[in-house]
Symmetry: C2
Subunit: 235 residues, 2 copies
């Protein structure tokens, strides 16, 4: 199994933490954390954790991307988040003692560090910079969740697809050819917008016909962002 030198960077030397709440930890806290963290390679398609699992710690994503989803009563998986390099996931396990309500599956090969709950929870209580930063992140997630709820409740599937394409195009690095730098299946896309796979496929073809996007296999090229924004707003 691939475990290159990068995988074993010490936390206090790791630049990834600059992108998340761990940047608020002191040097000595980081050194302690570093001593108990474990590194993992998660291959494309493998789970980082499952619904119903006790996580008991946080994952810091060093590289790669995963889809975070929840199974609905109707038996369909709904993707709620896309988590990538620099992100932390599992914070909620520090705070409540419940099992995870979400599943996380790697979209491409991932490199993650795991920090056990009992090591980092002290820092949450003692380092107010750290806890304030965590509060900030959660407040921002809550605001975002509000927006998603409104969009899911009020927008049509077509509007939500437009939103998703704009989001993917703006939030993720593009490939050299200009296509969206994250390869999702049509099923993934339909599980993000909350619709049947066939409906997502049909609408993608429709958008292509209208020159809003171009499709080459799984590669998606966003051609006309203002046009997609129009659709997103109901025109």
């Amino acid at each position: 199994m691939l475990q290159n030198s990068e995988t074993h960077t010490k936390c206090e030397q790791c630049i990834i933490r600059q992108f998340n709440s761990l940047k608020s930890l002191t040097k000595s806290e980081l050194i302690r954390i570093s001593g108990c963290k474990t590194s993992k390679i998660i291959k494309k398609g493998e789970p980082l954790f499952q619904e119903g699992e006790h996580i008991n710690g946080i994952f810091c994503i060093k590289d790669g991307l995963c889809k975070v989803s929840k199974m609905s009563d109707n038996g369909r998986d709904q993707i709620i988040h896309l988590i990538r390099k620099g992100d932390i996931i599992g914070e909620r396990s520090l705070i409540n003692d419940e099992v995870s309500n979400l599943k996380a599956v790697a979209v491409n090969d991932m490199e993650v560090c795991f920090i056990p709950k009992e090591e980092i929870i002290k820092d949450l209580q003692n380092n107010s910079n750290f806890s304030m930063d965590m509060l900030k992140k959660m407040a921002s997630s809550l605001k975002n969740a509000d927006n998603v709820i409104v969009d899911m409740a009020q927008k049509t599937v077509k509007q939500r697809l437009a939103d998703t394409l704009i989001f993917l195009d703006s939030e993720f690095e593009k490939n050299e050819d200009g296509s969206i730098g994250i390869l999702l299946t049509r099923e993934d896309i339909s599980n993000i917008i909350g619709t049947a796979t066939e409906s997502a496929i049909r609408l993608l073809s429709d958008f292509k016909k209208k020159k809003l996007i171009n499709l080459k296999g799984k590669q998606i090229f966003v051609l006309n962002i203002p046009g997609l924004q129009q659709i997103s707003q109901g025109f």
Copy 2:
């Protein structure tokens, strides 16, 4: 304007705080907070705050109920929360400096206390019991938001109406006659489940025909919870 003695209870003597994060404040913190809080009566239909407003503090709800909503791009209001006696709203204004993305309107007459941001933010930084409690509350809200997103994305309007009726029946005190103790218009209900008012009305009639509920004007009587749960799960 009604301002009875209850309205002027000092925070350190106020039993309402037992129901929210303010219970984690020390006696001296509470006395200081009490000195700068203001009390307000909000009449039914009046706004507690508007979308786009700077809140700059938190509201502690002493009595009454309000609907918290956000306007969608399609021009329809989506109700995201129902906030009631004992709840706190506005925490996010302590943490980020943005204007509110939500609107709150009283469903019945309310009595609320307002605590300005600059007074309580220190306590968030210095009292780790308080900040941990806030983190717990936010974590729990995030988990709940996940569930709402999945339901909005995957469930039919009928399923969501069943969910909403179960929620209202279980979470709010009932009237003596057994009806749901919170009077919402049909439009409010449709703005909770995210559908056209006519659709909500039709489905309510349908549920009544099937003896799942009874309707007497705005009064709703939930008769068959297992039946509603069946519908919620797609049967």
